[in-house]
Assembly symmetry: C2
Homo-oligomer: 125 residues x 2
């Protein structure tokens, strides 16, 4: 995102990390917002402004940065229409769509383990 130092230990470690298929995959969707963006775009292409409305507490800047990074990573396709006012549409690429079932499983994990206490209370009084 913001111009990395290329020789820091931090970056060197990252290089080790993305040698592993698993962590490579996770690295593609790290950050706070990418996963949410992919989730939203799963239902089809959306304009920048539409995405913005979906995440009221995410700033425009963050949305822009994430979308740019995702474009670079081949997760989203960006289509600009030469109109005034501008219109830009975002849609998922095949590789991003392939996250679908994984996200579903992660979501199920979250649903199951989020508040295990609550479940116990219901079951046991």
């Amino acid at each position: 995102m913001a111009a990395r130092k290329k020789n820091s230990t931090y970056t060197r470690n990252e290089e080790h990390i993305i040698e592993c298929d698993l962590t490579y995959a996770v690295n593609k969707i790290n950050g706070r917002w990418k996963i949410l963006i992919i989730s939203k775009l799963e239902s089809g292409k959306m304009r920048f402004g539409e995405l913005k409305k979906e995440f009221p507490y995410m700033t425009e800047r963050m949305l822009t940065l994430q979308l740019r990074a995702m474009e670079q990573d081949g997760l989203v396709k960006r289509t600009v229409y030469a109109e005034i006012p501008p219109r830009v549409e975002y849609e998922l690429t095949e590789m991003a769509l392939a996250f679908g079932p994984i996200f579903k499983q992660l979501s199920e994990w979250g649903g199951k383990y989020r508040l295990p206490v609550k479940a116990t209370v219901e079951g046991e009084g």
Copy 2:
């Protein structure tokens, strides 16, 4: 990890995020090392020193921090034996083990999309 400010937008946004099952799950395993640690521990309990050897480029401090956080999050169980020199064993809890199949899929994703160019070259010349 290191004493968060409780009223920053950063933290407030996080609270929004963990209301979603999907991002709650991802939040549990974020950071650079947790996923790798879970992967290693999937094959059974390990001592601190054994884990350390598995990740030569991860510092002791990072390993400690991650393990502590994971313990707090209920992902690992920590067993201390009152011996000298000390012996501490780590093992995954049920909720961490439940990540297994998900990690497998993520890994497959990584294997498939990591170097699509290479695959094309082989297939198409």
